[in-house]
Symmetry: C2
């Protein structure tokens, strides 16, 4: 096998972008052989060499693909992902891997079953931001101990501004039945994944925020959360789709210094201020009452831009399948971001502090009730054929 | 009356700094006529023209002063402040005006009673940071509506690094009996006052943090808090005395843009990014799904430095007494910072969301129990004559 034949399921949004990159040859050794969408209109532009399906089951069983990329509304990441894995296909799922921890467990179980049949099967999540050299450098500095033990972190990631027009563009968007959440489920899986990749899993979460605070939607469009960690460290995470101009500023402080990533309208900057001596030692040993450790402003050379992103993840997926390369974003790690998102959603709606690991069944039931009791009528610019509500309200 | 004769009560710490400024003529029309300290050693350096007292009651009743400045450990701000006001003296208290909302109410009641006898009596809090042109400009921009309605704010104020030597320098420091708290009571009253001055009073608070997390103390040396506001806005406040290098970054976002104050080892900066149109209108009216309002980077001219600070507050106090000028920091506003601090302390110790206004008696009782049940033995470099514990444990 010298190339990976891939089928893309869902080409209404991100899927069409992925298809374009493959068709333009940006992902060597990956060939687009099939696409699938419930709306045939969306598949009209593809060359006739590419087989079209309206049902994912048929694409998966067509024999035309070695792998699939699932870019449907989120609930289908689980169901279609399971079907693909059960049929022995290498699988990439868009983020989030699932809407709930409960669903993510089912999906990962399917992967574990598939692994028993084929130890070389690859299962990857579209966490493209893991290819960003800035986050990679932060991860490296933390892993190498340059920052010392992490004590506090704070991520303000409010540059996910969206208009009503955005929410109207899909009947499923920002509904409990169709999407299962708002900004935490759609925009933030990247950031939540990176946050746990950099700082680890929290042991407890408390969140405030709002449902439809800035938009005519029923799900959360703002979340402000505090994280506790087993180590005693604290964290904080702020996001919304209602703020302009937004901020993307991630500060991570350890006893050896602090890292500040700031991505704004005026550029990207990674600041590393290092203590000359460990803050803990300084606290104990220095006789000055108001003394502080001497600091170094460390200039870290970094390339411009944000790395290979979606292309990088697909290239890595191909390399994993064909060359046995290590995955940048193994999908089974995706359950972590799902669990943290669920914990924040549950906390902000119930005003309770949520301990992790969370009981997956509790949030699953809570969400099912939100779906069942929803009276919200979503305004949409789509045709009626895209009202997916019935598909999920089970 | 063409000058204000002032007595300073407590010259072990901040009080000696205030005395120095007055003696060097930095506060025109203010004359230091008396000082008071329970430790006579601390008064040795003062000229014999300045009368020395070991008891505040005697200074207050000496007839030598028109006004007092109370710079004792915090619990005495209340008791000595009340005594001074009851005796008709103009009064400045160091921050916090009291340790608890309960005490602050008693102090303010004494001021209201004094006002009935003398409508020109002045009562001022040492919120010197209100003279900083950066905070003044932020206040102005918010009040003038330049920022629109505030939606979210975030203050990371972790540049209050302190060593063990600092905490050992006073037997009262960071004990429940002697100080009534840690970083929220000693270092942060400035920031909490400014925060409420800029963004208003929260309606609920939730906090995490630690007691003696980075130091050998029994009170809080870290606090991470979320604020809810009646308007629907959210806020967040992060502080600690254990972090180096610390951060002082205050971001306030409204529907017309955002203000970011950043005071770091590499300078001070106030950034104002303004939306060309209101974000709320843009959300509703723009047809682009991923469109964002155009922004202006507004350059705000500001003087270097941080303003007149302690000298400014004392000058203003003199001007209020002699010329009827408006106080920059009326002490009765100081109860707001006290209440917010109490709410954060209570929340971080009980893991409860605290609604404001708080029941003053509840926290008062909680703190009395902490004092009563404390088994903590404070290490101190002071002589035994400064162990004030007995004075407060009533």
């Amino acid at each position: 096998m010298d190339k990976v034949r891939i089928g893309i399921i869902g080409v209404g949004g991100m899927g069409s972008g992925h298809a374009g990159q493959i068709l333009q040859g940006m992902v060597p050794r990956m060939e687009l052989t099939a696409v699938c969408d419930i709306n045939p209109e969306r598949m009209k532009g593809y060359d006739k060499k590419i087989k079209k399906f309206e049902k994912s089951e048929e694409l998966i069983r067509s024999g035309l693909v070695d792998a699939v990329l699932v870019a449907t509304p989120h609930y289908f990441h689980t169901t279609i992902g399971i079907d693909a894995l059960n049929n022995g296909l290498h699988t990439i799922v868009e983020k989030p891997i699932s809407v709930t921890k409960y669903d993510a467990q089912k999906l990962i179980n399917a992967y574990k079953k598939a692994l028993k049949k084929n130890p070389d099967i690859k299962f990857c999540a579209m966490f493209n931001q893991r290819t960003d050299p800035y986050y990679i450098k932060m991860h490296e500095l933390i892993q190498n101990g340059e920052l010392g033990t992490i004590r506090r972190s704070n991520w303000i990631i409010t540059n996910w501004f969206r208009t009503e027009a955005y929410y109207r563009s899909g009947g499923w968007r920002a509904t409990w039945a169709g999407e299962g959440g708002g900004v935490l489920v759609n925009q933030c899986p990247h950031n939540i994944d990176l946050y746990q990749w950099l700082c680890g899993m929290p042991s407890a979460v408390y969140a405030i925020g709002g449902l439809g605070k800035y938009h005519d939607i029923e799900t959360e469009d703002e979340c402000c959360a505090l994280f506790e960690y087993e180590s005693g460290a604290t964290g904080a995470f702020f996001t919304t789709t209602g703020e302009a101009p937004g901020t993307n500023r991630l500060e991570i402080c350890g006893d050896m210094g602090k890292l500040v990533l700031d991505i704004g309208p005026n550029g990207r900057k990674l600041e590393f201020i290092r203590n000359e001596v460990n803050a803990n030692d300084f606290i104990k040993e220095n006789d000055g009452r108001f003394a502080t450790p001497a600091i170094w402003n460390v200039n870290i050379p970094l390339p411009p831009g944000s790395g290979e992103q979606h292309i990088g993840i697909k290239k890595n997926f191909v390399a994993a399948i064909l060359d046995g390369a290590k995955l940048i974003a193994p999908a089974e790690e995706g359950i972590k971001a799902v669990e943290i998102a669920n914990a924040m959603q549950y906390s902000l709606m119930t005003h309770q502090r949520v301990e992790l690991p969370m009981d997956a069944a509790v949030y699953q039931k809570y969400l099912q009730n939100l779906i069942k009791n929803s009276k919200f009528v979503k305004k949409t610019d789509e045709g009626a054929n895209l009202d997916l509500k019935g598909s999920f309200a089970k």
